[in-house]
Amino acid sequence: MSEELNLIWLEGQDCAGCTISVKQASSPTLIDVLTGAIPGLDGLKLVYHPTLMFEWGDDASKVLVDAAAGKYDPFVLILEGAIPDEAAAAPGVFCVVGEYQEGLIKLSDIVKKLADRCAAAVAVGSCASYGGIPHGIPNPTGAQGLLEYLGREWKGALGLPVICIPGCPPRPDNIIQVLGQAVLAARGIAPLPELDEWHRPVDFFGHTMHELCPICGFYAGGIDAHAFGDAGCLGALGCKGIITNCNNTMWADGFGGCTGTGVPCFGCTHPDFPDAPTSPFFAKAPAMPFILENIKGMIAHAEMGFERLKPVIESLLPQLPEFIAALDEQMEAEKDKKRKI
């Protein structure tokens, strides 16, 4: 039995879509994780989750107050939804997560308090990572992601920066596998997840949607869809896969998915979602990445063609001097023949 680790899942300016997503996770399932069926992931306790927990009212708010006082250490802070700028809301509020003894618990306050104590902080979804939909121009509530709110330099008790799992919502298995890796890393069983410049795990977000697209063969073959429902590359319908980092796996238990089911990618994992370059969602993606990809592709294909010709050339090369000598001889013989005449 591993050491007990609490999970505190806060919901800010969210839609609970990430919660619904994680409930569909299939390898492993949420039940497997929370009941301790996975070795190394046992001892996890979801002490606070507004959509799943049993307590309500003051009892629920008390969990947050106690957590800020250190009762649930060590815990992993998971945020779903963006964090608004409460200063812009005065004298009102933009996001309150509870009320305890007549006092409002503002999201921005409680996140700051919990961030001081937590072992690691994970931002689930594009809103929590980079602001997402509430952050869209003109950003009426001053919404920020956890990465911006805590800063890129912030580090939890484990020495890990904010881990972002972007997506709207992220794929179920992505959420649970990244969270699982974070927990295993916290216990020293797995290596720390490697993060890129946007604090995304490289194992999951190291490639673009386009690179891992299940129907990318249509693109290579020049078969384009010009109406929804057509078989073909969805680039002309506004697919943003070329600028979006995503692992493009199937959705739940091998079913669903985005481009695989004929739906153009609209760039939900992009840090600038839902603004340019992912907006307008059904306008064609910027041309530059396509041009660069084509140039790169042509060079690579030429190189590959050369690789194929290389053994032929190499086998012929030693015979070249002999061939030239034979040619010379033949020419001399021709000249001699003419002289004789």
């Binding site: 990430c18 619904i20 799943l52 927990m53 509870g98 939909i133 307008p280």
Partner: protein
């Protein structure tokens, strides 16, 4: 249910209200305010504020409110209509489809 009732009337054990009690609302002036926030196991943020008249066993005032604002209408202004379909679905992740139409 019993726990909830206990909470509503402040821990005092009270018999189940008889059918006739509604007909005789003897106002006692004893007021009690109750706030439930957050209401869990639903999507989103919700709070309920209730004013109770414990003497007459009546709810004198009640509000349900959502202490969270994102400004979807403001975000949608100036965008292509086709984008609104994708954006308004994010009102609720439990039931996105009704918000798309």
């Amino acid at each position: 249910m019993a726990k909830l009732w206990e909470k509503l009337v402040g821990g005092k054990k009270v018999e189940e209200p008889a059918a006739t009690s509604a007909a005789a609302p003897a106002a006692s002036g004893k007021e009690r305010e109750l706030t439930i926030e957050p209401v869990t196991r639903i999507e989103g943020h919700m709070g309920v504020h209730v004013k109770l008249d414990t003497g007459a066993r009546k709810i004198s005032d009640a509000y349900a409110y959502s202490p969270m604002f994102r400004g979807f209408e403001i975000i949608c202004v100036g965008r292509e209509p086709s984008e609104a379909v994708m954006i308004t679905q994010r009102c609720c992740g439990v039931c996105p489809l009704p918000h798309a139409t």
